[in-house]
Symmetry: C2
Subunit: 183 residues, 2 copies
Amino acid sequence: MTEIRLSGYGGQGIIKMGYIIGKAASLFDNKSATMTQSFGPEARGSACSSQVVVSEDRVLYPYVNIPHILVAMSQEAYSKFESNLDKEGYLLIDEDLVKPGLTVAGVKMYSIPSTRIAEEMGNKIIANIVMLGFFTAVTNVISADSVRKAIPGSVPKRFIDLNLQAFEKGYEYGQETLNKQGK
Amino acid sequence: MTEIRLSGYGGQGIIKMGYIIGKAASLFDNKSATMTQSFGPEARGSACSSQVVVSEDRVLYPYVNIPHILVAMSQEAYSKFESNLDKEGYLLIDEDLVKPGLTVAGVKMYSIPSTRIAEEMGNKIIANIVMLGFFTAVTNVISADSVRKAIPGSVPKRFIDLNLQAFEKGYEYGQETLNKQGK
């Protein structure tokens, strides 16, 4: 079972990212997945977070306490959630939006300029999908092919191609990152 | 406790609608709320559904079985979920996208051309927020003021005004609908 927290600010498409992960995992990777929002005080202001549980078996308890993977797309989200990350977990950040502090030795940190890449592609709004591609490459929770299948039914029709391109950009960036590390 | 199912097709912003309802209820109406996606076979193809539970107390079980309110923004979603609606529940539809069959006598059906209204405002993509305004007016689950507060942190900055206007359009349409019924 993999517990994931995706976080950033409202309007970044954080929840859409979780939705596509869940869909990819369950419909095309034959796993089970649940996405949950609970709207505690931490949802105040511009913070936005989405919890996804991906499992080989049926998900009985959908809430996430200590995620194994944290994606942070804003400084506020990073500050709020970093301390709850599993001590051997994965931390994925947008490197232009998050300046991380010291991390626990066991945490594997990966960074990508997802928003900048999206802007270079002409639309900041797909930064979440660039990050999704990066996530797919570095974490191995879902397969790239499943995400490619899950995207078309999850975004407005006229934006399908743009979203698929954004996914590939992030995915390639993730693969290059792993290659540089010799993994 | 009110169990709500929002449904339509991917890209309509169904989940965003649920997210704003949850945020409005919990942060500004002092209730508790949870939003859940479980990705069963029903998530295949273009169907999209989001479950929201709004409660005076803490939500312990976030899954929705027999919703009290069903919002349907596509024919497919209507066909899939209508039979599970509470027999005294509310059915809200986009009247251009859903042609309803016979409904159970106790079900209260309300219809709005949310997509057409959004198009007239220049952008089909805000049909979900027009529907959210309509939902707010006819169901009384969340207050209009809370939604007005929840929208700014939930959409991209440059679209805040457009979303607020879309909300008001749907809200007014809902109030007029109630007035015509003498409620």
